[in-house]
Amino acid sequence: MYKYDEYDRALVQARVGQFRDQVSRRLSGELSEEEFLPLRLQNGLYLQKQAYMLRVANPYGTLSADQLRVLARIANEFDRNYGHFTTRQNIQFNWIELEQVPDILQLLADHDMHAIQTSGNCVRNITTEAFAGVAGDEVMDPRPMAEIIRQWSTVNPEFLFLPRKFKIAISSSECDRAAVRSHDIGLYLYRDENGEMLFDVMVGGGLGRTPILNELAKKALPWQHILTYTEAVLRVYNRHGRRDNKYKARIKILVKALGVEAFAQEVEREWELIKDSDAELTPREYQRVATGFEPPAYEQLNTIDLEYGAWLARDPEFGLWVKTNTQPHKVTGYASVVLSTKPGSNSPPGDVTGNQMHAVADLATRYGFSEVRVSHEQNLVLPDIRKQDLYSLWKKLTKLNLGTPNVGLLTDVIACPGGDYCALANTRSLPVTRAIQDRFDNIDFLHDLGDLTLNISGCVNACGHHHIGNIGILGVDKKGEEFFQVTIGGAQGKNSSLGKVIGRAFRVEEVPETIDRLLQTYLDYREVDESFIGMVNRVGLEPFKERVYQTNVSKMAALSSDTEVNIETKTGVPV
C-alpha cells in the first residue's frame, strides 16, 4: 500500500483543523447552512433524511487491516454499529452527529485516512478494480497511477468548484472490472511492445438521468502526460460545462453537445500548451509511489495443494463458494477471496457491522498480508490468501455471515441506500432488494443461473448503477406511489452496454414475479453455457416482454405461495 509521508500527513491533519473550525462557525451561526454546504460536502458530510452521513474515502478501495479497525471503531463508537460500503469503494456512516465529525476526521487522519472530496462538485475518489495488483489477468498494477491522480486532484485549487461531480476510474486487466466506461474519465492502462506505459483516455461517461458510456478521446497517451491531459480535460470542462441546470452539468452533456471529436480537439489544443511543462510526471515520482505497491513476500507454493483439493472433493458447499467467491491470483498457490456483504434479506447490500470489520481485519492479518479491498460491487476482498487456507477461512467467514456463495450471481445485488436514508431518493430500494433476495434464496438455482448482475437504484441519480446491470431496477415515484421500472441487457466491462426498458413499471410486490419470469425466459432460451446477458444480446427483448406481460403479474404474485414478501414491517433501518 501507499505509505503517507510528512506532506500527506500534514495535509490531512491540517484539513481536520480547518473543518473543525468550519463546524464551530456553523454551530455558532457564523456560517449559514448554504455557505456551509459545499464545505461539508467536500469533507464527505451529507445531510440525509434523519441524520448526517459521513462518507470516508478508501482510495481505489484499498485498506490496511489497521485502517479497517479504525472504520470498525467509528461504526461502534459514533454510529449504530455498522457502516455501508459504496459503489465508489468508499464507506459511509449513516447516523453521525455534526459535533462529532471533527473527532472522527481526527481519528481518520491519525491513521492516514480522510473524507476529502468524497462528495461535492469536484474530482471524487479514483476507483479501480478490487483485484488490482493481484489479478491473474492483469496487464500491470494500476494503483500507482491511481494514487498519483488522487494526489494531483486532492485540493487542486482550480478544480474544486466544477459544474458537477467528476469521477475517474482506471483499469489495467483483460477484463474491465472497474466499470470504466461509465465514468467522466475512464482510463485503460497498458504497455506497448517496448514496455512503455500508455493510457487510452475515454471521456464523457456517466449514469444518472442521462446514461452515456464514455468515448475514446486520446489513444496511447504516454504515461508521463496523464496529469497534464487530465488537467486539459478539466479546464475545458470547467470553462464550458453547463452550470444552469444540475441535470445537464456533467461533462457527458458537454461531450455529447460538441461531439467527442470536437471535444477532444479542444482538449488537444489546451493540452499542447501545457504538456511540456513542470506538470509533466517524472520517473522519480512514479518510482516513489510505485514502491508502496511492490508485491508482498509471497511464498513459493505448489500449483496443486492436496489438502485444498481434498476439501473440494469432500465438501460440495465449499466447492460452490470457491467457484463464485474466489478469483485467480497471479501468484501460484494463492487466490483472492470475495466476502459477500449480501447474505440475504436480513442485511442490506454493502452493510457491514463494526464487529464484522474487526473480525475481517483479524483474518486479513492472520491469513493475508494485512490488507483488505472494497469492490465497487460493495463486497470486501482479501487479496492474498493461500489456497491451503481457503477451507478454514471459508468456515470462519460463514460464521461471520460473510461467506454466502453468491458473488456475481443474482442475489449479489448492487443497491443504493434508497429512500430509507437518502434525501434525494424518491423510492425505497431496500424493500425491493429484500423481496428479491427472499424469493430467490435457493443457492443451487442461483448457481444454475450463473453470472447475472442485478442493480437497483432508488431514483434517477442511479447510484445503484441500474443502467449497467444485466437486470436493472429503477424506482420511480408516480403520484406518491412507488413503482419500479425494469431494464435488461445492461453490462459493465469492455463490452459495456446500457439496459433497455422492458415495459410499464411494477409495484414492489410484483417485482419478484417479474424477475422470475425474466429468469424462466432465459432458462427456456439459453444455449449451452450461455450467460443471461449473452442470451439477451442474441435474442433481444421480445421473448422477455412477451413472458412478463402475458398475464397480470400481480395476480400471479398473489397466487404464488412462495412470494410472501414482508415489505411493510421491515423498515430497512437497522436500529
Binding site: D5, E6, Y7, A10, L11, A14, G17, Q18, Q22, E30, E35, P38, L39, N121, I148, Q151, W152, S153, T154, V155, N156, P157, E158, F159, L160, F161, L162, L227, E231, R235, N238, R239, R243, L273, S277, D278, A279, L281, T282, R284, E285, R288
Partner: protein, 174 residues
C-alpha cells in the same frame, strides 16, 4: 471598493482606502465626480475606450464575466492595472480557470481581484490561482476573512503561486 484584502508578495492585509470602483457604463458616460477614483470598466467600455483613442491618464481596470474568454484582453494586458474576475456564487468556479489563464498563460502581472461571493474559505484556493486582492462579501468581517489566507495551504498539483508541483520538490524535503 470596500471590505477588500490585498497581498504583497503573498502576505495579506486589509486595503484601507482602496481606490478602485466598479463603474457601469452610465456612470462612465457622465464622467462625474467619481473621477477621483480608479475605474474598473466593463469589457464593452474597454473596447469603446480603444475606439475613441482616449488617452487614459489614470490607471484603469476591467471586469470580466465568468463566460468571457480572458484571451480578449491580450492587447490590453500591459496597460491594465487591475483585472476583476467574478464569483456570482462562490460555488461557480469558472474564475479560477480564468485566473490561471491570465497569469499562467498570458503573463498578466498586475493586480487580479476576486469580486462577488468572495468568502474566507475559498481565499487560499483563489490565491493559488493567481488572485492578489479580494473584495470580500460586504457582510463578512475582514478580520475573519484574513484567517482564510493565513492557514495551511499545501497542495499537490502546481499552481500559479507554486509553478512546480509537489512531486518535483518532494525529495528536497523543503
Amino acid at each position: 471598493m470596500k471590505n477588500t484584502i490585498g497581498t504583497v508578495k503573498g502576505h495579506a492585509g486589509v486595503l484601507h482606502d482602496d481606490p478602485w470602483s466598479l463603474m457601469d457604463d452610465e456612470a462612465l458616460d457622465k464622467n462625474d465626480d467619481q473621477n477621483s477614483r480608479y475605474q474598473i470598466l466593463s469589457l464593452e467600455s474597454l473596447f469603446a475606450l480603444e475606439e475613441t483613442q482616449e488617452n487614459q491618464q489614470r490607471p484603469y481596470g476591467v471586469i470580466l464575466h465568468p463566460d468571457d474568454d480572458p484571451e480578449v484582453l491580450l492587447p490590453w494586458l500591459d496597460s491594465l492595472t487591475l483585472i476583476a474576475l467574478q464569483f456570482p456564487r462562490f460555488s461557480d468556479g469558472r474564475a479560477y480557470t480564468q485566473a490561471y489563464l491570465l497569469r499562467g498563460r498570458y503573463g498578466y502581472k498586475n493586480d487580479l481581484r476576486a469580486v462577488g461571493d468572495v468568502l474566507r474559505d475559498q481565499l487560499a484556493a483563489m490565491r493559488h490561482c493567481g488572485f492578489t486582492s479580494f473584495a470580500v462579501r460586504e457582510d463578512k468581517p475582514l478580520t475573519d476573512a484574513l484567517k482564510g489566507l493565513n492557514g495551511f495551504d499545501m497542495i499537490y498539483a502546481r499552481s500559479v503561486t507554486h509553478p512546480e508541483p509537489l512531486f518535483r520538490r518532494r525529495h528536497l524535503r523543503l
